[in-house]
């Protein structure tokens, strides 16, 4: 298929693998930040085709995984209200809160709907003026512009029954947290191509300089990842620590200015809690005061909900690349995609789900 098969071409993959093999002389630990990159690596078996000297660790770039339990509990509380239509992206529906997930609320009679675009939620609000429509606005800089656009549009259309429950996070502060950690093992980063399509990559330049780590903005197809790894390993071998762009067909240094403008119009930066990791300064977005009347947590008085995470789940360490999923005592036993203890086992982008789906053979052997 056009624009797809080209990036999954077997002879080209083999050539890139040979070049990586020729460049690498020492052991290197590199992190792919984004969960979709993790899935491509495991889905195509790339992790097993790379030279043994290269160790891949999986990063925190799974929006579903890092959404705090409190946000899920708020969502569950809202979705159970008879006056509410609760609208969400599909993979949030099965993420466990402290008691249950959104699909269970749906089975109990809650009006929970799945959409592919937040603008569909705005449409639902327009079509159902007697109901309150709450959209679960989660994600990284990739979803933020569309989520912001939904709020902006709701205000322009004068809707008073549309609300968003937000849990928006930003990638660069999380990358910096990992790079700056005293026991950091990661020597280079593959930065998330789609986040950078929106934000550009200026923000990564000071991180690369200060912590002396090379960063390569990388796409999501097998050849993208192989090329990104080649660029990163070449930098490491040559002792360089620059920000380079592999994903040139989508990413420009300055990013998408219009997307950034709508984000800045609707959201402001704040400190944010990441599930399994904790509070990261200036790593989240909240609605600006001018848009406060769309903030579901405020309007429905849910801001003070707190809760506990499953003690056995090591998802925080998995998300920071310190541990791999099969090292978790609950992996594949107490924690499975049918009965997940932590979010990385649920989401299509979660590292635990990727290992469970694509690498179970080894897990079985283990």
């Amino acid at each position: 298929m056009k624009y797809l098969d080209e990036y999954r071409d077997a002879p080209a993959a083999e050539r890139l693998l040979r070049r990586i093999g020729a460049v690498v002389t020492r052991p290197w630990v590199i992190m792919e930040v984004c969960g979709s990159q993790t899935h491509t690596l495991l889905r195509y078996g790339i992790d097993q085709m790379l030279p043994e000297k290269i160790t891949l660790v999986h990063g925190p770039g799974c929006p579903v995984c890092v959404t705090p339990v409190e946000a899920i509990d708020q969502a569950v509380a809202l979705a159970g209200r008879p006056d509410v239509i609760f609208v969400s992206y599909g993979d949030m529906l099965r993420v466990p809160g402290s008691e249950k997930d959104l699909l269970s609320v749906k089975a109990e009679g809650g009006d929970v709907r799945m959409v592919y675009s937040p603008l569909d939620a705005v449409k639902l609000a327009r079509q159902n003026p007697q109901r309150k429509v709450v959209f679960f606005a989660i994600g990284f800089e990739t979803t933020a512009p569309a989520n912001a656009m939904a709020v902006w549009l709701a205000r322009r259309q004068g809707l008073d029954n549309f609300f968003v429950l937000t849990s928006q996070v930003l990638v660069p502060p999380a990358v910096e947290l990992i790079a700056a950690s005293p026991d950091n093992q990661v020597q280079g980063f593959l930065a998330p191509g789609h986040v950078c399509t929106v934000t550009g990559y200026c923000e990564y330049e000071p991180i690369a300089r200060q912590w002396r780590v090379p960063i390569v903005v990388t796409g999501f197809e097998p050849l993208d990842l192989l090329q990104g790894i080649l660029m990163l390993v070449s930098q490491l071998e040559e002792g360089r620590h620059e920000v380079e762009n592999q994903y040139t067909r989508s990413v420009r240094r300055e990013g998408n200015r219009q997307a950034q403008a709508i984000m800045a119009e609707v959201f402001e930066v704040m400190d944010h809690k990441w599930r399994g990791i904790g509070l990261i300064p200036r790593s989240g977005l909240r609605l600006r005061e001018a848009y406060a009347r769309f903030d579901a947590a405020r309007v429905f008085g849910l801001q003070d909900m707190t809760c506990q995470e499953a003690a056995v789940c090591i998802s925080g360490l998995v998300l920071q690349g310190v541990r791999k999923p099969p090292e978790c005592p609950a992996f594949g036993t107490d924690c499975t995609p049918e009965r997940p203890l932590g979010a990385p086992m649920v989401s299509a982008e979660g590292a635990c789900a990727a290992y469970y789906a694509y690498r179970r053979q080894e897990t079985v052997r283990r």
Binding site: D9, A10, Y44, Y356, Y358, Q361
Partner: protein, 346 residues
Amino acid sequence: MTEFTCPIPLSEYPRVLLAHGGGGRLSQHLIEKMLYPSFENRLLEPLHDGAILSLDGGRLAFTTDSYVVHPLFFPGGDIGHLSVFGTANDLAMCGARPLYISCGLILEEGLPMKDLWRVILSIREAAAEAGVQVITGDTKVVERGKGDGVFINTSGIGSVLPGLDVGPHRLRPGDEIVISGPIGLHGIAIMALREGIELETEISSDSAPVYPMVEALAAAGLDIHMLRDPTRGGVSSALNEMASRGGVGIRLDEEPLPIPADVEGVCEILGLDPLYVANEGNFLAIVAAGQGARTVETLRQHPLGARAALIGRVAAEHPGIVVMKTSIGGERVVDMMSGEQLPRIC
């Protein structure tokens, strides 16, 4: 004797979820933990698409299926066609010529009479095409809001072709796996319609009777070990079930999988895997070692089999697990679908 307490811990699933009907792992739990132990008997035991029973010296296949697809009408078919072809195909997967079906209609109050008539005409047309007669039926009407227009249940009876013995008990290492036609058309046709995805060319469901192809394979003297139509849960769930019930491993090749470009495109947009998408007009044939190429040749002489392909083989290693060689030469496990990918598509 199984105790008569609910075998699915209430703490796990106090209520039925859509995924319990999705054809993936939760459906399997329901069958293996609740349904099979409750009804346990020799004929049910193979947990095949239908039961095979001997009656006065002849061998009959008997099957039942319910159809709740939404929307009722879609490109390439409607709930009427589906309810006939689906059940006829389940019989074909038992190695049987479909003969008779029943037709139970559950209608929702307020359904436009012209829609009902359209469905009935489809059933009539599909029965003629599949070579079956509708010989008994039932109609119930439920209050508005308690159904979804039309639900249909059909049961079917067919006669097993002489000399055929198909089922997971016949799977052997070295057996070759052939798919008779393109993957993912039905599920994606429904999904594209529901999600309002507009394409340059319309994707039509592959809903069709597959028995003529099964008959052609038998007539060619091929040693057929197992037949399976990859409906709900798609090719991956069908192969995983085979691997676990036959106690064998399965090696799959990604490269020859016949996935139409439109299906691949929609799957990319929606983040789906074509291997989990439902089909209604193709089947997997597992034949004795060395017979895969001739199976493909035989199928390709049939219009529905034009894209038949040899896609893998049965292996002795890793029993119960399906492993695929990826298009760029890596390896990965193809897991059974967990939860639901496409709700209510057949």
